[in-house]
């Protein structure tokens, strides 16, 4: 019989379809795994609700878990349980190393325009906080665009939600 541990280990290997350096488990979007005689049930929370990768993630979870030999139901839960604070420390470091500035923690303050325009956001390339907001929005819903005036590079900044 498939164990919950085996399911979690499998989920740890599924990359985010848009940012493949990070897994769905690192991203904190897998809410719960239940294993019973009938099969496996995975509860999953989307990051941003209009994320076009949502269906791909749901499908990937089902296919990979079913490859372990049990039927899998994926339940998309649209509650308030996910925030960017759920991205693991390992996940944050993987993002930074790939050139995506990880999202500031919510404990550092509720996101606001003043914070985005004046706050100390760190360039993932050179580490400087001499950066400025270029656009609240970016190539995907979860990211903003900033520019580092120290190393003259634009970079993608994860939004805190």
């Amino acid at each position: 019989m498939v164990t919950a541990d085996a399911v979690w280990r499998t989920l740890e290997e599924i990359p985010d379809p848009e940012i493949p350096v990070i897994s769905l488990v690192d991203l904190g979007v897998v809410k719960r795994v239940d294993v019973s005689d009938e099969g496996v049930r995975v509860e999953f929370t989307p990051t941003f609700m209009g994320c076009p990768a949502l269906d791909a993630m749901t499908r990937a979870i089902r296919e990979r878990v079913e490859a372990l030999g049990a039927p899998c139901e994926v339940l998309v839960v649209n509650d308030d349980s996910w925030s960017t604070d759920r991205i693991s420390a390992v996940g944050r470091e993987k993002l930074r190393a790939a050139g995506f500035a990880p999202p500031p923690l919510r404990s550092e303050g509720t996101p606001s325009l003043v914070q985005l325009e004046r706050g100390p956001f760190r360039c993932p390339w050179c580490g400087s906080t001499e950066t400025r907001l270029e656009n609240i929005f970016g190539p995907t819903a979860c990211r903003s665009i900033r520019y580092c005036t120290s190393c003259s590079q634009p970079f993608e900044q994860f939004k805190t939600i």
């Binding site: 609700m49 649209n78 509650d79 308030d80 996101p111 325009l113 270029e134 970016g138 995907t140």
Partner: protein, 222 residues
């Protein structure tokens, strides 16, 4: 239909139709940053609509797609504010800001409601709407910063005001008036709200376009 399903459809229709209108800027916004911003906002709004339709669909025994695409124009419950065709820039910003201001009031109320499913969804939606509000506020600041911008924004706000009043019900509407007047430091003209249930003619054209692919292949799985 239950009051709950009715409310879910109001919220979902607002987000879907506004998302569609916002997406009309994709590729042709005045500059690239706003092209990205309005496209991203459109994507979020349509994502919110999808989740809201799914809640309604579970109650009504149908699917989100059928609710979004297969109803007759008269069955849509969106506020006429969101139906207006892509407008010139000052009006686009005026609508964006008026809608986000009204939507924030509505979401605050929903986040505190007894319906756990709806309250949770409202809270999730609100995390994203926060960024839409920042964007709208940034633009209001920018337009208020010059005489020309202020005049254009003012004209657009007055023109759209009766529509904005139609987004919220009688209980929440006074809060919208208060927030708008506080932010602008002016009194808004007394106006009769353009209410939900009435539709502007442009909605029919929008629906015609939005549903054309789905109607071209009935029953297809996408």
């Amino acid at each position: 239909m239950s009051a709950r399903a009715d409310l879910l459809l109001e919220l979902a229709d607002d987000e879907l139709i506004l998302g569609w209108r916002d997406s009309e800027w994709t590729g042709i916004a005045p500059f690239l940053e706003e092209d990205v911003a309005f496209s991203s906002i459109a994507q979020n709004e349509i994502g919110h609509a999808r989740a809201l339709y799914e809640l309604a669909a579970a109650e009504l025994g149908t699917t989100a797609d059928e609710l979004a695409f297969d109803r007759a124009p008269d069955e849509y419950r969106c506020a006429p504010l969101v139906e207006l065709r892509r407008l010139e820039w000052a009006r686009t910003i005026a609508r964006h800001w008026l809608y986000e201001t009204a939507d924030a009031i509505r979401l605050e109320a929903l986040k505190g409601c007894d319906d756990i499913e709806l309250a949770g969804l409202a809270a999730k939606i609100d995390r994203e709407e926060l960024y839409h509000r920042m964007h709208a506020e940034m633009w209001v600041d920018r337009l208020l910063g010059s005489d020309e911008g202020r005049a254009k924004l003012d004209e657009a706000l007055v023109e759209l005001w009766p529509y904005a009043l139609g987004v919220l019900d009688d209980d929440l509407r006074p809060e919208l008036v208060r927030r708008v007047e506080d932010r602008l430091g002016r009194t808004m003209p007394a106006a009769e709200p353009v209410r939900r249930g009435d539709h502007v003619a442009e909605l029919r054209e929008l629906l015609e376009e939005m549903t054309s692919v789905r109607r071209s292949a009935p029953g297809a799985e996408w």
